[in-house]
Symmetry: C2
Subunit: 220 residues, 2 copies
DNA sequence: CCAAAAGTGTTCAATCTACACCCATGC
DNA sequence: GCATGGGTGTAGATTGAACACTTTTGG
């Protein structure tokens, strides 16, 4: 902090809210109804008010769009925006969040919102395309060594549900037995004394995450 | 970006410049000569001017303090600063850089600067203590799977120099043979047809990094 | 008894860790 | 010839990947 020149730089926040639904990783987008980028799809966000921390503001945006609190929410990266030195905001602090699809209720705010498959969404305003790409890459990495998925599943779930969630995010099939072993050896989840009967086949044991909070693991 | 309220938030940049010297990981600090935090030690940085990207501004700060360009420089994290909602700046985008000790020439700027061991430096202004902690943690991680160390060593170096650099950063001794194998198998460095004679013992082969630019590696 | 999803072990290859001696040189 | 740092291999343990059959249930 050597200098304190006057400046026009502003801070914006953008939140990449991800969910898994019908075997697909999806992102919450809203359609802007005003310039800049009028009519484009964009991530929820806005300019950071004074006196609010970034984390608080991002959590508020998430709650405002989905009604969801206390989920996985993590800072991603800060982008200079726009890339051409024209107008504010100068910096966009990107966050990403993971929500259970069934719990999120899209609160029609100022502008219409909907879920889009991350593999196939319209071009986005600002540098939001890159934000989403980075968020998905980070999520894939985090799955390997954190309990991030707790935020995408109900409290009780079957192993098959967990595996399908992982597969949707990673975009590839996983070996059932190896997946069992790996997840259990990480100590992320614990079995319950309950089984779920669905249809004409063997009932599935239910599990839950030991901790439904962001958690890091042993040295990998 | 749903909303565009007026705001007082400002963007600052802070650069954690690290080097290894005499077996110790050190950080470049400057002593502030004006409020806020008059008389405290702090990271180089400042408020982001309009029309400049974060990366450009961080690179400029680095060059201004050390005269060094084209080194490892990477965004770290964005902190809300100060934690209490009092005064601007609202967000500090932290970067970290790695410089070769011998090449950096501290350009006495506005305020006095010096290298401090990261393990033992005075308390810092703003949230800079946390910035340094996070930077060191990130560096330790990056060493394992990137060529980041290129930026801490001269173009030609011996394996022992490389190992001592790693050990200084990680803070623990490494097994010489395992270190040889691991580094070579990563393909980061290549042997030169030169040897360095120093003192009364076997001359050491010289190596260089294949690429003296930030580079990621295979899937780890 | 058939269809459907749940649940479960073993083998092989690759990687990581621990560990100790000889080599080349200058004095 | 000795002191100094340079350079090298092997064995055991751990980890990750591939792979197929039996169990439980409802209809």
């Amino acid at each position: 902090m050597a200098e304190r020149k006057a400046t026009g730089a502003r801070v914006a926040v953008a939140v990449t809210i991800l969910t898994v639904h019908e075997g697909t990783l999806q992102v919450l987008l809203l359609r802007r109804g005003a310039p800049p980028f009028d009519g484009w799809w964009a991530l929820p966000g806005g300019l950071l008010p004074a006196g609010v921390t970034l984390d608080e503001f991002a959590a508020g945006k998430l709650a405002g769009e989905t009604g969801v609190r206390e989920v996985f929410l993590e800072q991603l990266y800060t982008f200079t925006e726009p890339p051409e030195p024209t107008a504010p905001p100068a910096a966009t602090v990107a966050y990403f969040a993971l929500v259970e699809h069934g719990v999120a209720t899209l609160r029609a705010g100022e502008w219409p919102t909907r879920w889009w498959p991350v593999a196939d969404h319209p071009p986005l305003a600002f540098t939001n395309d890159e934000v989403v790409r980075v968020a998905v890459a980070r999520l894939r990495g985090k799955l390997e060594y954190t309990n991030a998925a707790y935020s995408l599943l109900p409290e009780k779930f079957t192993f098959a549900q967990l595996q399908r969630t992982y597969e949707a995010i990673l975009g590839r099939p996983l070996d059932k037995r190896n997946f069992y072993r790996r997840i259990l050896s990480l100590g992320l989840i614990e079995p319950l004394d309950e089984h779920l009967k669905v249809g004409a086949h063997r009932p599935a044991a239910l599990f839950r995450f030991r901790r439904r909070q962001a958690e890091f693991l042993s040295p990998r």
